[in-house]
């Protein structure tokens, strides 16, 4: 499949617009079609499922209904959006009573022809490491990073169907493909506390600092994530003198592909990543070359 329906979600229109920009740029560079779903609505995370389980399924079900006639698989960059849509798809697929209810509310007939897929999986498995590797022009040699998935991408395994949910490997394989050093650590699926970032920031700060500390102990200089909430929480709630930048994996892809628009993405980061990036040889050469 060389075409996908794209569901950016609300975060990618605001706090994570650099994620959105990097996604679109990377797809273009890989020559894979990405069609934004027209008239998409918010998936409801995480307010809807705390107050009304039916609403929490109906909101994403509407998007599934919109994507169904197009027929392409539905790509979700945000872990929370993915989780909500995958949950709705799971209910529609396995729970005939819920399905009837949702079909009535949304006004469609579920066909199950559209797979809900996380962006990370679409790029690494769907498009494939081989095509990504071929496109790398500036390998990120010298960059030592840990892959970080967070909670919602992998859990609950029955619903998400994520590869090896307790010990996933796609992010590390991707980092190696991009020429970076994927640092092994044991916290790739630990919670960052993103859901409590605003309501109970002390808890979030404790969780975030532990993650940053353990990443540093493992020998990493950066954290690579695929979730907009994780990214902003990990950067916003880090304390201490030495702060560790947090990248979206698509940003690193854009860098390794040598995409010029990458420069525009860093200003959105709360922790300045450019000093770290300046240490990467291939990038320095590029900067010198351009300068």
């Amino acid at each position: 499949m060389n075409a996908y329906t794209y569901y950016p979600g609300c975060s990618l229109e605001s706090t994570a617009c650099e994620y959105d920009a990097s996604v679109r740029a990377v797809f273009q560079a890989l020559e894979v079609e990405l069609h934004e779903l027209e008239e998409w609505n918010c998936c409801g995370a995480s307010s809807a499922h705390s107050v009304n389980p039916l609403l929490a399924l109906a909101l994403p079900a509407r998007n599934l209904a919109l994507a169904q006639p197009i027929g392409y698989d539905l790509v979700m960059p945000c872990a929370a959006c993915f989780n909500r849509h995958k949950s709705a798809d799971h209910a529609l697929r396995h729970d005939p009573e819920r399905r009837k209810e949702l079909e009535e509310i949304v006004g469609f007939t579920y066909q199950g022809n559209v797979a809900v897929r996380p962006l990370l999986e679409v790029l690494t498995v769907g498009v494939g490491f081989e095509r990504i590797g071929e496109r790398v022009t500036r390998p990120l040699e010298g960059l030592k990073a840990v892959g970080y998935y967070g909670c919602l991408l992998v859990r609950p395994p029955d619903v998400t169907q994520f590869e090896n949910p307790e010990n996933p490997s796609l992010m590390n394989q991707l980092l190696e493909t991009l020429g970076a050093k994927a640092v092994e650590w044991s916290y790739a699926t630990e919670c960052c506390g993103g859901g409590l970032s605003l309501t109970k920031s002390s808890v979030a700060a404790r969780l975030v600092n532990r993650l940053a500390e353990r990443a540093r102990e493992a020998g990493a200089e950066a954290i690579v994530t695929s979730c907009p909430l994780c990214q902003i929480n990990l950067e916003m709630r880090q304390s201490g003198k030495q702060k560790m930048p947090v990248f979206y994996f698509t940003e690193l892809m854009g860098l390794a592909f040598g995409l010029p628009e990458a420069e525009a993405w860093w200003s959105k980061h709360l922790i300045e990543p450019r000093p770290l990036l300046a240490e990467i040889k291939s990038l320095r050469r590029a900067m010198v070359g351009r300068g």
């Binding site: 090896n164 949910p165 307790e166 010990n167 044991s186």
Partner: protein, 579 residues
């Protein structure tokens, strides 16, 4: 005209409180086939039975109807009573006016009385047509097949052999002893399990009445209680037949006739790969209980499998996968609380300066001296018990980190461990479900064999002549396993206490002239009791297998199938009387 006597029971107030028993007697007396009817307070009491016996003689009765409780309750009692008076037992029937009338119609006495009259009258119709029958006599092979050579199978085999009957003991592996042979010690006294077991194994191997087949599996079964025919396949043992190269050796197949079967196939450990959050099989310093037993058996100081360093901090995780439907096992494996306490104490004896932690949901140490044993682990050995579940086990450098919660202090706990021991669930042995199908005994959703009744028939299966022993039926420890094995042996000996077997004659028969050999009855028979005779080409009944359920009667389009004393004309007579 028949000469039938009707005996209406009050059952104290149970029946008489709702049904007008006098009215029942009065109505039945008007029936032309009834020569005598009477009511009495307790028909099953000695005076009640006496009344029946005397009346048979006095009125020359040729049939008896006892209107009382369900036939499941006292049919046998009353049949015995009439036999004692010289009347064939099968000329006596129970009319159920208690469970089906008085107990369920207490609000409407008039209707209850009417229903009691009708039911009793319909049974009178049935008795009129009852044949005089004798119990079937079947041969009985006094030899037992025991499947599984663990402690359960060996105990059952020894008990039966000691009573003087031959036993064939079939074991899949090349050695006897089963899982118990893998243990380092048993709880309560730490005695080494292999030493305890060795004596039993020698007893079994040297017993003149026990024939042991190792490397062998049951591959076929036919027949029925008292007359099973089993096929056993034995793979050749290399050292016993050194003449031929191993790959040219063919498995041997044996056929035995046995009268009873004891299933003692034991258990296997849960696959740790199903517990990725506890490190799965990837972390070398995470082991399961059975592997830890092996480490203890090797003797000496306990060391980390990964690098051989002394294991100074050991975390035991109870209920690792059990009592957890998410991991596919909702049951409690029953033995873990006790063996974890034993393992923690044995660890402390090997590494006195080490620290042992036990995460538990709750301690299930029910049994004589069991709780005291666990208390000893806490007080005398300083094992730290933490009430809570472990959320994650992962690698950090050369240590294994355990995250858990201590729900008594409400705190999250992190332990950097050298060794983590998972008390994983006991699962039924590989192939249990297939063996169940072969033997026609049912298994539960996990593959444990079902007992005939969870409380009152715990060692029998619903297939007569097949008994259960040990963990094959459900998780249990060694003393319980041994008790159940002796229980199963007692059931076998009970069966063998007779030279021949008797069985109920109330089975199906075929009216050969009516049979078209269509095979409908063969298909519906749940007991495999029917076949089409290969030469005469009509359906035949194996009376030993038939349970008289009547499925064949319903299926037969020609009414060639009949169940004795439930013949079509009898049933039609009953229906006519009711309508």
């Amino acid at each position: 005209m028949s000469r039938i006597g009707v005996f209406v029971c009050h059952c104290g107030h149970n029946i008489a409180g709702t049904v007008d028993v006098k009215a029942v007697v009065e109505q039945l007396q008007r029936n032309g086939d009834v020569v005598f009817a009477i009511d009495y307070k307790y028909m099953c009491s000695d005076p009640g039975q006496q009344l029946i016996r005397e009346s048979i003689e006095k009125y020359q009765l040729d049939g008896v109807v006892v209107a009382a409780c369900s036939p499941a309750m006292h049919e046998t009692t009353f049949r015995r009573t009439v036999s004692a008076a010289g009347l064939n037992g099968f000329r006596c029937e129970s009319a159920n006016i208690r469970e089906q009338v008085s107990w369920v119609h207490q609000q409407d006495k008039e209707a209850a009385t009417q229903k009691a009259i009708e039911i009793t009258a319909s049974i009178v119709e049935k008795v009129k047509g009852n044949e005089i029958l004798e119990p079937l006599v079947l041969p009985l092979t006094h030899r037992t097949l025991v499947i599984g050579g663990g402690i359960a199978g060996m105990q059952a085999a020894l008990d039966i052999a000691e009573a003087g009957y031959p036993v064939i003991l079939v074991e899949r592996h090349d050695h006897l002893g089963g899982r118990m042979a893998e243990l380092s010690g048993s709880y309560l006294n730490f005695r080494a399990a292999p030493d305890l077991l060795e004596k039993k194994i020698q007893q079994v191997l040297s017993h003149p009445n026990i024939q042991t087949l190792r490397n062998a599996e049951v591959i076929g079964l036919s027949g029925y209680v008292g007359n099973f025919r089993v096929q056993v396949k034995q793979n050749p043992e290399a050292e016993e037949t050194p003449v031929m190269p191993l790959d040219e050796l063919q498995p041997l197949t044996f056929t035995f006739d046995v009268g009873a079967i004891v299933v003692a196939t034991g258990w296997q450990p849960y696959d740790r790969a199903r517990l990725p959050e506890y490190g799965g099989v990837e972390i070398p310093d995470v082991v399961d209980g059975l592997t830890f037993e092996k480490m203890l058996r090797e003797g000496g100081v306990l060391r980390r499998p990964s690098d051989g360093k002394i294991a100074c901090e050991v975390v035991f995780v109870q209920c690792a996968g059990s009592r957890d439907p998410e991991h596919g096992v909702s049951y409690c494996s029953k033995v873990c609380c006790m063996y974890v306490a034993k393992q923690a104490m044995m660890y402390k004896e090997r590494v006195p300066d080490g620290q042992a932690y036990v995460f538990y949901i709750d301690i299930r140490s029910a049994g004589k001296n069991y709780d005291e044993y666990v208390q000893r682990a806490m007080t005398d050995y300083g094992v730290l018990y933490l009430r809570g579940k472990v959320s994650r086990v992962f690698r950090e450098g050369d240590q294994t980190i355990v995250w858990g919660s201590d729900t008594l202090t409400g705190r999250a706990v992190e332990i950097a461990a050298d060794l983590v021991v998972l008390a994983t669930p006991m699962l039924p042995s590989r192939g249990s479900a297939e063996l169940g199908q072969l033997l026609h005994i049912s298994t539960d959703g996990y593959g444990f064999f079902n007992e005939a009744h969870p409380k009152l028939r715990p060692v029998e299966t619903l297939t007569a002549g097949i008994y259960l022993a040990g963990v094959a039926q459900g998780p249990k420890d060694i003393p319980e396993t041994v008790s159940q094995a002796s229980g199963a042996a007692a059931k076998v000996l009970q069966l063998f206490s007779k030279d021949e077997m008797t069985a109920s004659p109330l089975v199906a028969s075929v009216i050969e002239e009516l049979c078209a050999a269509c095979g409908a009855c063969v298909k519906v028979c749940p007991y495999g009791a029917r076949q089409i005779h290969p030469i005469w080409n009509y359906a035949t009944v194996n009376a030993a297998l038939c349970q008289g359920c009547g499925a064949c009667v319903v299926a037969c389009p020609n009414k060639a199938s009949q169940v004795r004393n439930w013949r079509v004309e009898q049933v039609m007579g009953m229906v006519d009387r009711l309508l």
